[in-house]
C-alpha cells in the first residue's frame, strides 16, 4: 500500500468500519456483501475474459464480454439462497451496463405491475429463469416524454381475437430500450389501442420479437442496436419496427384494462395511478444509484488527491523543499468535501422515499387508497431530476479534480460520468420532471392563495385534504400565510 494513503488512514477520528456498517444499514449486510464480492470478483470470477484492458475493447467486444459475465453471474445467482442478492453485484460488475439490465429492472417489474394473475403465471417463471428475455419498449424515435404523442398502434380484431401491431411512421419506430438491439426475444410494447375504431389510449402488449430457437427476428419485426453511446456501451439499446405483427388477445397485459368476451374494452378507474406506481419505483432506485456513483467518483478523486503532489510545500523544513499533496489545497477540498456529503444526502433521500413508497403501496393494496400517489410522484420525479443533475456535476468535478489523469479512461471517471449523466435523460428527462414537481407545487400554492380562476378548476385535483397537506413535511411550509422568518440571519 502506498505509504501516503496509509498515513492518511491513520489520521481517522472515527472507526471506518463502523461507518461502513452505518452507511449500509448494519454489519450483517456489509459482511454478506463482502462475502458475495469475494465469490464473484475474486474466487469464482477470475478476470480471464479480459485479454486487453477493457478500455481498448471494441463496442462488439464490450457487448460480448458483458454477455459472458451476465450468463455466469445469473447462473451463479441460482445457487444463492436469495437470487436478488446478486443484482447489486451484477450492477457493479458490468461497468458498461448489462444487456440483461432492462430484463431485470423493467421487464420483470412491468410483468408484475401490468399482468393479471393468469398472465403472471404464464410469463414470470420463464422470465426469472431467463427462458424468455425481455425489455420494455415505450419511447419512439420521434416521441419521448409526451406519451399521448406515441404512434405505435394496436388494432383489435374481435373476429380473430387478435391485435395487429404497427409502426405507422418512421418516427414511431421504438427507440432506446436497453437489451432490445441484440439480446431480448420479447418486448412489452406500449401502443395506442383501437377497439372498434375507438381510440382507447396507451396500453402494454407482450410481443415476441425473436425466434426462441434461432434467435432470429420474427416476420414483421425489424430490430437492431442504436450505435455507440457516451456510456452504457454494453446495454445494446435498440430500435424496433413493427409491420402488421399479429399477437393473440391474451397478449394484452390485462391487470388494469382488458377486452372482455364480447369484444368490449374494460378499464379500471385507477389505471393512471397504478401506472405511476411503477415509474415511481424506478425513479427512487435511480436516486440510490446516484449515491453509489457519486461515492465511486469521490473515492477515486480523494485517494488520488492524497497521492498526487504538486507545488512546493510552504511548511518544508530544514531547507529541504517538499511537494504538497493536492488534498492539502483548500480549492481541492472545496471540490471534494461536498461530493462526499452529496453521496450521503442522496442515500438519505433514497431511504426516506423508499419508506414512503412502501407505505403508499400498502395503502393502495390494503385500502385502495391512492391519495398519496400524486405527492409522492411529484417528489420522486423532482428528486430523481435533482439528484441526477447534482450527481453528474459532482462526477465531473471529481474528474477535473484529477487533472489530466482524470481524462484517461483508465481513471474510471469518464465511464462513471457517462453512466451518471445518462440518468439525467432516461426515466423522464429532467426538465420535464422538474415541471411535474412544479405543477404539484403550483396547485398547492393556488389552493392556499385562493387565486383560482374558473378555467383552472378542471386542472386542480386535490387528492389530500388540507389538513393532511399541512402536516405533510415536504410541503407544509407552503401553507404559511407569510414567508418563514429567517431570524437573525437577515437584517
Amino acid at each position: 500500500v502506498n505509504p501516503l494513503l496509509e498515513e492518511e488512514r491513520c489520521k481517522a477520528t472515527f472507526n471506518i468500519e463502523k461507518l461502513t456498517y452505518f452507511l449500509e444499514g448494519d454489519q450483517e449486510k456489509t459482511e454478506r456483501r463482502r462475502e458475495l464480492e469475494k465469490k464473484f470478483y475474486e474466487d469464482e470470477f477470475p478476470n480471464d475474459l479480459i485479454k486487453v484492458p477493457v478500455d481498448y475493447l471494441s463496442h462488439s467486444e464490450i457487448y460480448t464480454e458483458a454477455l459472458i459475465k451476465a450468463a455466469r453471474i445469473y447462473f451463479e445467482a441460482f445457487n444463492l439462497e436469495d437470487p436478488r442478492e446478486v443484482l447489486g453485484i451484477a450492477d457493479a460488475y458490468h461497468y458498461e451496463a448489462s444487456p440483461l439490465l432492462l430484463h431485470f429492472a423493467m421487464f420483470i417489474p412491468a410483468l408484475m405491475g401490468h399482468c393479471n394473475d393468469e398472465q403472471q403465471a404464464r410469463w414470470l417463471p420463464d422470465a426469472i429463469e431467463l427462458k424468455i428475455i425481455g425489455t420494455y419498449a415505450q419511447t419512439e424515435l420521434g416521441h419521448g416524454s409526451y406519451l399521448k404523442g406515441l404512434q405505435t398502434e394496436a388494432i383489435y380484431n374481435d373476429k380473430e381475437k387478435t391485435f395487429t401491431l404497427n409502426s405507422p411512421t418512421l418516427e414511431s419506430i421504438k427507440w432506446w430500450p436497453g437489451g432490445l438491439g441484440k439480446t431480448a426475444n420479447h418486448a412489452i410494447v406500449q401502443a395506442q389501442l383501437f377497439v372498434d375504431g375507438v381510440h382507447r389510449g396507451l396500453h402494454p402488449f407482450m410481443v415476441q420479437i425473436r425466434d426462441l430457437e434461432t434467435h432470429k427476428p420474427l416476420p414483421g419485426i425489424e430490430v437492431g442496436e442504436l450505435g455507440p453511446k457516451l456510456g452504457f456501451k454494453a446495454a445494446d439499446n435498440g430500435y424496433l419496427k413493427l409491420s402488421s405483427v399479429v399477437i393473440p388477445k391474451s397478449n394484452m397485459l390485462m391487470k388494469n384494462a382488458y377486452i372482455d368476451d364480447n369484444g368490449r374494452y374494460q378499464a379500471k378507474k385507477a389505471t393512471d395511478k397504478l401506472n405511476l406506481g411503477t415509474m415511481l419505483f424506478v425513479r427512487v432506485l435511480i436516486i440510490d444509484m446516484m449515491s453509489f456513483n457519486i461515492s465511486k467518483a469521490v473515492t477515486i478523486a480523494t485517494r488520488y488527491s492524497a497521492v498526487r503532489k504538486q507545488g512546493i510545500n510552504p511548511d518544508s523544513k530544514n531547507g529541504v523543499t517538499s511537494e504538497l499533496k493536492i488534498i492539502d489545497y483548500a480549492a481541492q477540498r472545496y471540490k471534494l468535501i461536498p461530493c462526499i456529503a452529496l453521496s450521503h444526502a442522496c442515500k438519505a433521500v433514497f431511504i426516506s422515499l423508499m419508506s414512503a413508497f412502501k407505505d403508499v403501496n400498502e395503502s393502495m393494496s390494503k385500502r385502495s387508497d391512492y391519495r398519496s400517489i400524486p405527492l409522492l410522484h411529484a417528489m420522486s420525479s423532482g428528486l430523481k431530476a435533482l439528484t441526477t443533475d447534482l450527481g453528474a456535476s459532482a462526477v465531473e468535478i471529481c474528474r477535473r479534480a484529477c487533472g489530466g489523469n482524470g481524462f484517461l479512461l483508465a481513471s474510471g471517471l469518464p465511464r462513471i460520468f457517462g453512466n451518471t449523466v445518462a440518468a439525467c435523460t432516461y426515466e423522464g428527462e429532467n426538465t420535464i420532471l422538474y415541471l411535474q414537481t412544479a405543477r404539484y407545487l403550483y396547485k398547492t400554492v393556488r389552493l392556499v392563495s385562493n387565486h383560482g380562476s374558473s378555467s383552472m378548476e378542471s386542472n386542480t385535483k386535490v387528492t389530500l385534504n388540507l389538513k393532511e397537506r399541512e402536516t405533510s413535511q415536504s410541503i407544509g411550509y407552503l401553507y404559511r400565510v407569510t414567508r418563514p422568518d429567517i431570524g437573525n440571519l437577515g437584517k
Binding site: 477520528t13 415541471l435 403550483y442 411550509y477 422568518d485 440571519l489
Partner: protein, 193 residues
Amino acid sequence: REGKIVSDVDGLLRLFSASAYYHCHFAFDQVDCRMRVQGQSFEKAWIECQVDLIKAAKSHLIYYMMIKYWEWVSSGEKYDLNISQVLKRLAYFYFGFIINENKGDFLAVGLDLTSIEQIQDELSTLMVELRNDMIPLVDAFDLHDMVLMSAIGCKDGNVYDRLFNLAKKAPLNQVDPNPSFIKYIKDLTKSKL
C-alpha cells in the same frame, strides 16, 4: 454574530424553506399574472413561466433533501459519537456550501452579507477540521477495486504503477514501429517538399 451559523441547523432549514417559499410563490404569481392580467390561457402561461417554475421546484427539492439529510445524520447520534460528530461536520459544510454557491437565492429572502461572510469563514474552518477524515470518509464507502475499475482510485494507492502498466498494455504499444507510420508518414519525412 454570536455562535456559528452552519451548525444552527434549525435556522438554516428555515432559511431553505424561506427560499423555497419565495420561489414557489414567485412562480405562482408569474403564471397567475399572465392569466389574469394578460389573458393568457393556463397552458400558454405555464410554457412562458417554465424557467421560474423549474427554479421553484429546485428550491423546494433542495429544502426537502436537506431535511432528509439532516434526519439521517441525526440518526447517527445513537450509533456512535465519533461517527456522529464527523457526519454532522460534513452536513454543516454541505449546508454552508449550498448557501455560498447560491447566494442570490438566499439574499432574495433577506440573508445579509455579514451572514454570508461568516458562513464563508466557517466553511474554511470546517475544511481544515475535515481534512484528516477525508480518506477515512471515502474508505468507509468500502468500494471494491473491481467496482471502481480505476487505476488512480485503487485501494492500495499505487496510482503511478497502475497507470504505467496499463499504458504498456495499449494495443498501439504492442508493435513498434507502427506499420501505419511506416506506410504513410516515413516517406514524407524524407521528402524535400
